[in-house]
């Protein structure tokens, strides 16, 4: 352990000389060899972008506490280092434990005395002085759970029983969280679906499942719109869907929020209005500009150029993770990487797409950028996971 610590501390000082070493020996070749820089650098740059953005938010949004944001990053970095050092293969046979853990996390906010509401949103848990959203760590738990459940088929799911069991493993925590927090539920669904599909589920079954999901979703929406039938979607959720289709229906609440967020993005123009000049996002027209609508805040200040940089960094990070997955031989490790890719891709799509009016409004943070310690820690841990896969890749063979 001491040697590894030394490796971190001497980062970059004597790396280049041994760069030419053979691939299988790369871990020994230099201090940087334990780090997958293609994923680490864009991730850290995104954190820097987040720091700048939240700094601007802290000017006029009292809820955005800059120090607390930095504290979240610090905790997250420590956690990431710990994860990086840990060889996760130990978790590959712990499907049952992970499943129970996932279910517990999902049910935690419903336990009286523990769960409480923030801004009318359920899903928070208070343990002594610590307040967090268990839905955030549950994303990581689900990545491990689904990876360990799917890896045992070794890339080939051939019976419907196996496919159904995988789906069932995903469905239970999914339904538990969806009734509480639709946004996180969607993230978990995408993580699970990406892992199941990549792990080799037959195409026809996947297509049938998608058709089934679409049907059920349509049924849920329709019953929620008709009086007398059970309203599974809450009223605000239904409203968000309606304003997504037509923002003018409700220009004072959800439709207003969406319209204002889009004005913020569009008025940013090519170069943006400059740091701290977000007249829309920083003067209260865009709600939750430090969390759910953080992209509006960023895009208004830094314009198309800044947005392009932001999206490029995400692309860089995600593509390098997929490339790492391709090179990783262990199915379990590979699926873990795939789970992270699914999580990031969907969260970026949803958070950015929502501000651009091409996705319905949900409360999903933008990874590495949004204000909120739970999310920041979990995202940095996911970086640690990717780095750990890189670091322990030889053993995976």
């Amino acid at each position: 352990m001491a040697r590894e610590l030394k490796e971190i501390l001497t980062l970059g000082t004597k790396g280049s000389a041994r760069r030419a070493a053979a691939a299988h020996a790369s871990r020994l070749a230099g201090p940087l060899s334990g780090l997958y820089l293609s994923q680490l650098i864009p991730a850290l740059l995104l954190v820097v972008i987040g720091v700048i953005t939240i700094w601007s938010a802290s000017i006029s949004i009292p809820e955005a506490n800059f120090v607390s944001h930095l504290a979240g990053i610090a905790i997250g970095l420590v956690a990431a280092v710990l994860v990086w050092r840990y060889d996760m293969r130990a978790l590959s046979s712990m499907t049952t434990v992970l499943f129970v853990l996932a279910c517990i996390l999902m049910v935690l906010p419903r336990i009286p005395g523990l769960g409480y509401e923030v801004n009318g949103m359920m899903g928070w848990v208070r343990l002594g002085p610590v307040r967090f959203q268990p839905s955030e760590p549950s994303k990581i738990v689900v990545i491990f759970l689904m990876a360990s459940a799917a890896a045992q088929y070794n890339g080939k799911i051939e019976t419907f029983r196996d496919y159904a069991r995988l789906c069932g493993t995903l469905l239970v925590p999914l339904l538990l969280i969806m009734t509480l927090d639709l946004g996180t539920g969607l993230v978990i669904f995408f993580i699970g679906a990406t892992i199941i599909i990549v792990s080799g589920a037959p195409r026809t079954w996947v297509l049938l499942t998608i058709a089934l999901i679409v049907g059920v979703a349509a049924l849920v929406i329709i019953t929620s719109m008709i009086d007398g039938l059970p309203h599974i979607l809450k009223e605000y959720q239904l409203n968000r869907l309606i304003v997504f289709v037509d923002p003018d229906v409700d220009p004072t609440n959800n439709g207003y929020n969406l319209t204002q967020a889009m004005i913020a993005v569009g008025s940013g123009g090519f170069f943006g209005k400059g740091f701290g000049n977000a007249t829309q996002a920083l003067n209260g027209f865009v709600p939750e500009a430090q969390t759910d609508f953080v992209f509006s805040l960023f895009a208004e200040q830094f314009g198309f150029v800044g947005s392009l940089v932001l999206l490029s960094l995400f692309t860089w990070m995600i593509v390098s993770t997929v490339l790492l997955a391709m090179k990783t031989e262990s199915m379990y490790m590979r699926l873990i990487l795939v789970g992270c890719v699914g999580m990031w891709t969907f969260q970026v799509l949803e958070n950015v797409g929502m501000c651009l009016g091409i996705m319905p409004i949900t409360g999903i943070p933008l990874p590495f950028v949004s204000y909120g310690s739970s999310s920041m820690v979990v995202q940095l841990v996911s970086v640690g996971i990717v780095q750990s896969v890189w670091r322990h890749r030889q053993k995976a063979a």
Binding site: S60, F99, R110, E158, S199, G266, G268, N283, L308, T345
Partner: protein
């Protein structure tokens, strides 16, 4: 809510079941996988070792999916931040800017000598931040202090017509006690302050109320018409106080000024973050009228006294009017209508009870300016015009003579024909045209009417009346003027047919000619029209457009930035020999018709030419009494005209009003108390 608990319970049961499956069959699961691996060949196609291939190709698919997601996002960003950026930027600007409006003080309205008729006074106004509305206790306390229901205070606080960031007006004209209390207890009334604002003020009360008019909150129609630039009025905002009648309306664009606009930057809650451009309000310009408040006051007082005398005598006397015009340029020196009103009741919004009184029938419509809007039968005051018509069309000559026996019929026979009486039933005997005017002999004019009917120019009278401006508006710079009616054959046919009369009853007859020759029948004129026609007689031709505006004052000093340029609207050519006949007749009315009448005029240093009139109004069944004159007779300067609806004789009502008005002009009050017994 219940439903989601059901889902949770079902999920938990499922979870337990799955855990049991994992624990019980967990091991065999792994073996099972092994078995499948061993039995691989049973799969068709032989692509058995493709597990690595499958996941790799799926990873490529994943890359494609990720690429698609980011391409969509970038494409959308492109369209929003580059293509439509300006629209969004415009909306963002609209969001962050807000405007606070300040009402500009209206210009004053002055008389011809620069004395104030309408001005502005400082009014102590309680204003409050919009946020005060959330403090129920403060609203209640404020209501108690001012003496307003809390609900009314709340409604005022929610009124954002002056801009969202403007302080809301709670109450105008509050007492010193309220001001002092608010000043001493700032802790009780946070956000509440007292401002000095301006309100319309009328130092002479209701003086010239019909001319100056009144102001009120802008109406929906005015709002919609404003800003189109058609009538030159400024663009209004809801809640603006604008002219609603009289000079306040006619010269609104001059009086209104330009409201101040302070642009501020605001956040989503409407809180001011910073200040941008500021345009100070431009006060309205002062308007100088042609009225003289001394003469106006004398005219109003006299008119009111005469009408009230008639009313206290038990007569049905709804009202009257008087107009004094400088016939050399059309300036209106005085214009009064009775009953009148106080424009003051309109400041700060008129109370419903006041409005009900002003618009009730039994208060005789005080808002109506009878001088320009009251249409009545002309009666004998039209006879000078009839005389001109007769002379021009050869129906009579200066030397013509008729015989008045006190009655008249078309055929001259007393049997089998409609008998029409002269007002003096004893008859005037042999009488010429000039005396016919002086003594107002109806028979003379019946003959003229008959003469026209039988002549080649059966409508010559109407043409003359129209040439003198009757039947059309004078074009005075006040709203609500009526055109009156000069009936002819075509008019009668159309009008009577529309009322449902038969063809026969709608045909023009000789009797109609006789009626209009003495200003009766369907003739309808306004006091101002008659005054204008007498201006033409007095000027020997030209008539100027009557007007009340003398000029608009410069912001500084007493000079005019623009002055009303008198406009000649018509000029009637008459031969001098004809004019002498009519002028002689009208001079005679003043000094020869009756001794009592003359006694009111011989006490003046100037000579006056005039005509009395008493028209019968068929509908209401009461007389409309007229008197019009020009003075001095030799070199006329003023035309004064008056009518009293419901008087007994012209000489007992309208003439006295005219005498008092002319007396005020020349500083020679009427000291005759002779009462005219019976005469016209």
């Amino acid at each position: 809510m219940d439903f989601s608990i059901v889902i949770v319970v079902v999920c938990l049961v499922l979870a337990v079941a799955l855990v049991v499956i994992y624990l019980v069959f967990g091991r065999s699961e792994a073996n099972f996988t092994m078995d499948i691996g061993g039995a691989a060949p049973k799969a068709a196609g032989g692509s058995d070792s493709s597990s690595e291939k499958t996941t790799s190709s799926r990873l490529v698919g994943l890359l494609v999916g990720v690429g698609a997601v980011f391409s969509v996002l970038v494409a959308r960003l492109w369209s929003m931040q580059l293509v439509s950026s300006e629209e969004y930027a415009e909306q963002a600007e609209r969001n962050r800017r807000s405007t606070i409006y300040t009402q500009a003080p209206r210009g004053r309205i002055l008389d011809r000598k620069g004395r104030e008729i309408v001005t502005n006074r400082a009014s102590l106004t309680v204003v409050a931040d919009g946020a005060v509305v959330d403090d129920l206790i403060e609203v209640q306390l404020l209501g108690n202090l001012i003496g307003m229901p809390a609900q009314a205070v709340r409604r005022r606080l929610q009124d954002t017509t002056e801009g969202y960031q403007s302080p809301r007006m709670v109450s105008v004209d509050v007492s010193r006690r309220v001001v002092a209390f608010i000043g001493e207890h700032p802790d009780v009334f946070p956000g509440v302050s007292v401002q000095e604002r301006t309100q319309r003020s009328y130092p002479h009360g209701s003086l010239a109320a019909h001319v100056v008019g009144y102001v009120g909150t802008v109406s929906q129609e005015q709002l919609e018409a404003s800003g189109s630039g058609e009538d030159g009025t400024p663009e209004y905002r809801s809640g603006d106080v604008v002219g609603q009648s009289g000079v306040e309306l006619s010269y609104e664009s001059v009086l209104a000024g330009v409201r101040g606009e302070q642009t501020v930057f605001v956040d989503a809650h409407g809180d001011v973050l910073g200040y941008s451009t500021n345009i100070d309000p431009v006060p309205g310009s002062d308007v100088v009228l042609t009225l003289d408040i001394d003469i106006q006051a004398a005219a109003e007082e006299s008119l009111a006294r005469i009408v009230e005398q008639r009313r206290s005598a038990g007569a049905d006397c709804p009202g009257g009017s008087v107009v004094a015009i400088d016939c050399t340029n059309g300036e209106v020196i005085a214009m009064a209508s009775y009953p009148t009103f106080s424009p003051n009741v309109f400041t700060g919004g008129i109370a419903q009870s006041d409005w009900d009184v002003l618009s009730a029938e039994d208060s005789h419509y005080p808002l109506l300016n009878r001088a320009i809007s009251g249409q009545y039968a002309a009666g004998s005051v039209i006879k000078p015009l009839t005389s001109f018509a007769a002379l021009n069309y050869g129906i009579a000559t200066p030397d013509s003579s008729w015989y008045c026996s006190g009655w008249w019929s078309w055929s001259g026979k007393s049997q089998g024909d409609t008998i029409m009486k002269c007002w003096q039933e004893s008859g005037h005997g042999a009488i010429g045209l000039s005396s016919g005017i002086t003594y107002s002999c109806d028979v003379v004019f019946y003959e003229i009417g008959k003469g026209f009917y039988n002549s080649e120019n059966p409508e010559g009278m109407q043409e003359t009346f129209r040439a003198y401006g009757l039947g059309s508006k004078t074009g005075i710079d006040l709203n609500g003027e009526e055109a009156g009616v000069i009936p002819d054959a075509a008019w009668k046919r159309e009008h009577y047919k529309a009322l449902g009369y038969s063809d026969e009853d709608s045909t023009w007859r000789g009797g109609d000619n006789c009626n209009i020759s003495i200003g009766q029948g369907d003739v309808q004129v306004t006091c101002l029209q008659m005054a204008q026609s007498y201006c033409s007689i007095a000027n020997r031709g030209p008539a100027w457009k009557p007007h009340v505006l003398k000029g608009v004052r410069a912001k500084v000093g007493e000079s005019f930035v623009s002055e009303y340029r008198p406009e000649q609207v018509f000029s009637v050519e008459e031969s001098d020999s004809f004019r002498e006949v009519i002028e002689r007749g009208m001079w005679g009315v003043t000094y020869e018709e009756s001794e009592s009448q003359a006694s009111h005029w011989t006490n003046m240093s100037i000579s006056v030419s005039s005509k009395t009139g008493t028209g019968e109004q068929i509908g209401p069944g009461r007389n409309i009494c007229w008197f019009g004159c020009f003075a001095p007779s030799e070199n006329p300067k003023y035309v004064v005209f008056s009518n009293v609806d419901g008087g007994d004789w012209g000489a007992t009502t309208a003439m006295l009003v005219v005498r008092d008005t002319l007396g005020a002009i020349y500083g020679e009050p009427d000291n005759s108390d002779a009462v005219y017994a019976a005469g016209d």
